[in-house]
Point group: C3
Chain length 343, copies 3
């Protein structure tokens, strides 16, 4: 399953979005449930999102007034009483978790909520005591795999994000890669003395040496979590400071993706509106360099695909595992779809 | 034949336009006759419309000064005396009728002026006593068939044009469809009490009940006329008020078309310039919603064609007949072109 | 070989450019040598031009800090010591001549500096006594062949450049065409009395009759030189005034090219900065009409190629020879590439 929106983006005003190439419309029924339908009236192909009216759980096409309910079934044709069975649009199974709306894009009968990662693992469960900070959506003009590989390969932060996330040491720090089910986890341990932007982004005291554990975990194919654990060698009693930054990555098209960013920490107090805006803005500005890099790469691959003619280095180990595991996962899914008795 | 311009658009200053995919240049010869040529110098492919000079009936290419007359023949090559026979560009047969210029886009030998609908049928003949009102050209980013179907299916006016052209009753009113030659005519009869915009657009008194006959007629493949006849049940002696709104629809490309709009009525006085501008503006603004709808539809069909995977309703009867008749007409035309002895 | 830049465009700040479809990056090493590399890091395809740092002769990729030297070899991978042999990008052989940088775009082993035309022939050698005037780069949205043909066919100047380069007589003046090796030379002789813009652009006295020799020479496939020789019949002792305008034409893509313009004369004094700017601006404005013409033509050819369905006239003789010679040259080059033993 993939994240398709933040909860507060989905209201009674229809929202048009493209997900894995599908044009969809998201809205919230009067009883509060989110709804996601294929954004195309089956009658004459007008996008349902162009209609401005949601009533109960029904969305109305602006052209001829046909109405569809949350199951995608047409429930009103103003010009006649009988409703053809074929007059329906696809409805996608949704799960709302923390402030994220997850959707199942495949055959609804195969939808499986258990595929959503346990949000307790990265501090995004309600009432888990973690301080929820940054939360924003960025659109990136590149294939979603480039973005996963970006997050799995922390060595880039010493260059692309020079001075923002480390003191230049991450690139030289050896990494350990672990695979468990559909999760790849890559871990680095390094001693640093944060300063400037680097101290600010993590809320660390400046000039105090920390023992840092940096873990990039990818739940293939939809979520990356970068976790930082800071210990203080000079103050062994100081509690471990932990910051999770979660990145839900959802393809928009073959050459673009949605980047849902959220951070949570076991330290700090709930931010005021102003603090929250400033935190969002700071990380937004830093991630614009990733957005630029991904878009540069996309423009360099005229014929993008999983087989890129890259020359790899050792720091790409996790990224290469990611590519293989993703390919296997896609293969398994197409096989299980083929094995399903046809309706 | 198709409408390619309003008369007053064609002057001694060349006008570039695309018609059925052909790039053409329109201009008026000094004797007043309109000329339409393929907009490409046969020498080095420069568009003739880029030349600013028309002299007698000749248009001059701005690159090397070659001149072409109304037949498309080259009549001057400044750098030499002999003119190769091949040095000619296509000239399209034209007919100027009322304020419209009709063109024959196929083989000139098959051009047949009799294919132009009789303008007396919709109040656009000179001296027919009808008041000529609105007259404008709108460019629409969608296939021309969508626009014909829009006009043949009046049920959309209760939704897309809510409050502008009816009191919400048209969608529920049964329609009768007639076919005669290449004309489809769909008729609805309804009793309404106009108010607000609806009364204004038709020049009807507010709050007075009318018996309305609404006829959408399509001359395949180029013209739609929507005719409204208003009778006054409470004043049987009041003359029938009749308003024709004519829509000449000409493909520009596969995914765009020209929309030539003109209205005429058997009532009202000749408009002042200001009234005329206001009438034009009002209808223009309303038709922008049709333009939007057609462009939404176009964007929803990645591979447009006559075979759309729509689910149809009873109100689409005329539109479906239109599709079949258009297909047959295109088939007949390609057969007659094939049957013609080659030159 | 083709001109890829003016010397002063290439500095320690990387310059991205597209040449014959290749994306390249140009920069200057600390020892002053120009470098041109394929603009793509072999690791993850990021354009090297996005990196802002050149050190010695090395350019650094902004994503993971890999560094490449002037030969295209990777010389630093920050995350590891060993450098895979495959980690290299293409380096193009360059020659800097006068203020132009010429590049060899094919197999480096076949690079041959002797293919660069002798700059003494058109007043662009250092210390040749010629006054160097105009110098600018214009990008044109059309295939480079159209531009060569434009320069070989002087008859267009009587129309497209009416009043700027002649008194309207060039189109009627017969031309003589000569071929020598890969050079086509077309010569016209005409007597004119310059005035206005025509006198100004050549720095000629107004109202004085001149005997003019106009030569367009094309070194296939990369350079055109238009030379004007003015003699004064009434003052036989007056030295011949000679102005060469050189046009290096380099394809950017199939449908666009770079137009490097430079002028030099055997008369006049070295221009001040202001005079130089004014001369540049004047010729720039005139050449914008050529740019427009080439772009009109490009838009008229949906499927461009060397075989255009043009109808030609006698004035096209040189242009047609150019096409044939270019075709033969391309054929010979592909044969010699095929004949080379594979590595």
């Amino acid at each position: 399953m993939v994240v398709v929106a933040f909860s507060d983006e989905v209201t009674e005003t229809p929202l048009a979005r493209q997900i894995l190439g599908d044009r969809v419309v998201l809205y919230r029924a009067e009883d509060g449930a989110p709804v996601m339908l294929a954004d195309r009236c089956p009658h004459r192909a007008v996008p349902l999102s162009k209609g401005k009216r949601v009533c109960d759980d029904r969305i109305r096409c602006p052209y001829h007034g046909l109405e569809f309910d949350r199951t995608g079934a047409c429930v009103l044709i103003p010009s006649q009483k009988q409703i053809p069975q074929m007059m329906r649009t696809h409805s996608y199974p949704l799960v709302e978790k923390w402030k994220w709306i997850w959707a199942w894009m495949g055959d609804p009968e195969l939808a499986d909520e258990a595929l959503i990662p346990d949000h307790n693992l990265f501090g995004l469960a309600d009432g888990d005591g973690f301080r929820k900070g940054v939360r924003f959506l960025m659109n990136i003009g590149g294939n979603y795999q480039f973005l996963h590989e970006n997050l799995l390969d922390a060595s880039h932060i010493s260059f692309l994000h020079e001075g923002c996330f480390d003191s230049g040491k991450i690139v030289e720090t050896p990494a350990e890669t672990q695979v468990e089910g559909n999760v790849i986890r890559i871990t680095r341990k390094v001693t640093e003395t944060p300063d400037g932007a680097f101290a600010r982004v993590f809320g660390l005291p400046e000039g105090v040496t920390v023992s840092r554990e940096l873990v990039s975990a990818t739940w293939i194919p939809s979520l990356d979590v970068v976790s930082n654990y800071f210990r203080f060698p000079e103050k062994p009693d100081h509690p471990v400071m932990c910051l999770h930054t979660s990145f839900a990555i959802t393809p928009e098209t073959d050459t673009s993706c949605h980047y849902f960013v959220a951070a949570s920490s076991n330290y700090g107090t709930a931010p005021s509106d102003e603090e929250w805006k400033a935190e969002n803005q700071f990380l937004w500005d830093v991630l614009l360099t990733d957005k630029a890099a991904i878009e540069w790469i996309q423009q360099s691959y005229p014929d993008m695909g999983s087989k890129t003619p890259d020359v790899s280095v050792r720091a790409d180990e996790a990224a290469l595992r990611f590519r293989r595991m993703l390919e296997q996962q896609l293969l398994r899914e197409s096989e299980s779809a083929a094995a399903k008795p046809s309706r």
